[in-house]
């Protein structure tokens, strides 16, 4: 419960605070005197007795406040860091279950094995995420309909667990690239501009998109200041996204080339990495890592901070003279009775 800007673990204890007035309403420690006129008028004694009452009240109140366990609640502070805000767009289609960077045709048929494209992507992305302390990551679920599964978060544990989960099981039959690209942009909607915004697409193919979808994507990506990085997992070594001189006639109309053309034409920062081997994949990740260290506003979560110690110190400071005076009077009374 919040009270006075502090979070109290046991707020009901605070209801006992009037108990701090008890020392003023009893005379447990008074000595019965036969005739009060006999007691000499002593201003010092009166002051001391008043002070002792105040001290007792302070100790009781301070202890009650400490037992109620106050704490400064968890809060976020903004600081400047270096990095980027990255939305991960991992292809979950069936073809991603095929082995990555194999030379023989036979090896291609080991479905969802340890060297499948999806698992290789998991390995490198995990490494990448771990290397970047200040980045905020989001994850788009990439299926028939895409869903912004994990909105941008600073929790490395959450994003790593989502990447890990993405490598389990088998691929899905249907993926919709246009929808996924649109949703990735939505992750940044209504967010203040904190720094570099990236959509990181990892896929082994492209998809033809409607003109309408492409128009919408162009508009959104420009408006929101996004950059696209595409790690394209090549199936055949000689196939490139850029057309070349001695091109195989079969490659010219491949959807991935169309997507590449489209990305180039949006007019936003765009970079494609063609990974045909584990080595190239690693290099692509390293390059993104090196490039993306612009200033970024980072929201940091400051954990809740217990403040009971303050009250315990107050209780201790008041308790020291109080206890000493009572020990002293015990000593005095004993002396007098001897």
């Amino acid at each position: 419960m919040m009270l006075f800007g502090l979070e109290w673990a046991f707020p009901l204890v605070l209801l006992l605070l009037p108990m701090a007035l008890l020392p003023w309403f009893n005379n447990n420690l008074d000595k019965t005197v036969a005739w009060t006129a006999l007691v000499p008028h002593d201003p010092l004694s009166r002051t001391i007795s008043l002070a002792l009452k105040v001290l007792s009240s302070v100790v009781i109140a301070a202890l009650l406040l400490a037992v109620a366990s106050p704490a400064i609640p968890e809060r976020t502070v903004e600081r400047f860091g270096e990095g980027a805000e990255i939305v991960l767009l991992l292809d979950r289609s069936r073809s991603m279950d095929d082995a990555f960077a194999v030379t023989t045709q036979a090896a291609n048929y080991s479905v969802a094995g340890d060297n499948s494209k999806r698992r290789v992507a998991r390995t490198y992305l995990t490494e990448f995420v771990k290397k970047r302390p200040d980045d905020r990551f989001g994850f788009v679920f990439f299926s028939t309909n895409s869903i912004n599964l994990l909105p941008l978060t600073y929790s490395k544990e959450a994003i790593l667990a989502t990447i890990e989960a993405n490598s389990l099981g088998k691929g899905l039959s249907d993926t919709n690239l246009a929808d996924a690209l649109m949703n990735s942009a939505l992750m940044f909607e209504d967010q203040p501009y904190r720094g570099s915004r990236i959509v990181l697409l990892v896929s082994d193919g492209g998809q033809l998109m409607t003109d309408e979808a492409m128009e919408l994507i162009t508009k959104r990506y420009k408006e929101m200041n996004l950059s696209i990085y595409w790690i394209y997992l090549k199936a055949r070594q000689e196939m490139t996204l850029e057309p070349s001189e001695n091109d195989n006639i079969l490659y010219t109309d491949l959807p991935e080339r169309k997507v590449h053309e489209f990305f180039k034409g949006i007019g936003i920062p765009y970079r494609a990495f063609e990974a045909g081997s584990l080595d190239e994949f690693a290099k692509a990740m390293d390059e993104i890592d090196e490039q993306q260290y612009q200033t970024l506003i980072v929201e940091e979560l400051v954990p809740h901070e217990p403040k009971a110690d303050l009250f315990l110190w107050l209780a201790l400071l008041a308790m020291l003279p109080l206890a000493s005076s009572h020990l002293y009077s015990y000593w005095g009374v004993r002396k007098a009775h001897e």
């Binding site: 008890l22 447990n28 100790v59 202890l63 994990l150 315990l312 201790l316 009077s329």
Partner: protein, 312 residues
Amino acid sequence: MSLSYPKRIFLTALVMLISLLMIMAALWLPQVDREIEVMDSLFVIDITDSMNVEDVSFGNETINRLEWAKEYTRQSILSMPCGSHAGLAIFSEARSLILMTPVEVCANYHDLMQMLSQFRPTMAWARSSEVSKALYTAIRQAKEITPQPTVVFLTDGHEAPPVHETLFPKFTDTPGEVPGVIVGIGGSDLVPIPKTNEFGEIEGYWEINEVMHKDVYASSRGDAAELNDNRPRTEHLSSQKKSHMETVSRRVGFEFISSPKSPQNLIKEMQKISETRQQPVKYDLFVWLASIALILLLLVFLPYSMFTKQHE
């Protein structure tokens, strides 16, 4: 007061001294280690069309089964002690899809809830609901996760297309190897199932002639064909399939709880079957020490004279 003055002075001095020591201990005594039991869990939520049926209630409100499943998952995660881990998965068609492997529940509560709130029927990749097969895949995938989580499978048990009891898909793993609980959702009356379009909006209901009413395999097998005879054509309607889920949970060695009232029902069931881990947590004794000091001091100052008769 019946105590003599010197005695009172002595007791007061003693109490003050002990209180002082207690406060000092509260300030400087190091935190003690305490072991708490934590577990790893994987919540698998049914997102098929039958989960859109509004026949369950939370408090006074009638909500649909999917909303109930999400709210129950939220409350269960909230009831777990910090240090426990929870993962999230959905199921549609004939398989479960893990979306987040188990993460620590307190530090990642916000992210878990963000993801949970996204679960909706539009995530489904196909329009069928083969509960038992999906359960088997959940079990198989749970085995790939270390440490292996306890599976919590939230469903209404509606198999579409229907499966005949004698023609069950085979469970090839060892029952009980992966511990788990099936949480049954839904009312007991047969009600129409809303149909959703690609945007997740409800568009009418599944009609009697739009769904299969018989086990496909039984229809194709001469010896089993009679199994399909005289079956009521009610597969376009849905209720909580309790007996079916009981059978399925026995087959895979799971527990079954039907429409639990509180998350504690689930947590208790999970604690019985899960391999719990001991997690040391730092525990500060200051509350106890300060309370002792406080009670002792109050004993000194309580207005005893108000309760004792004056014998003057």
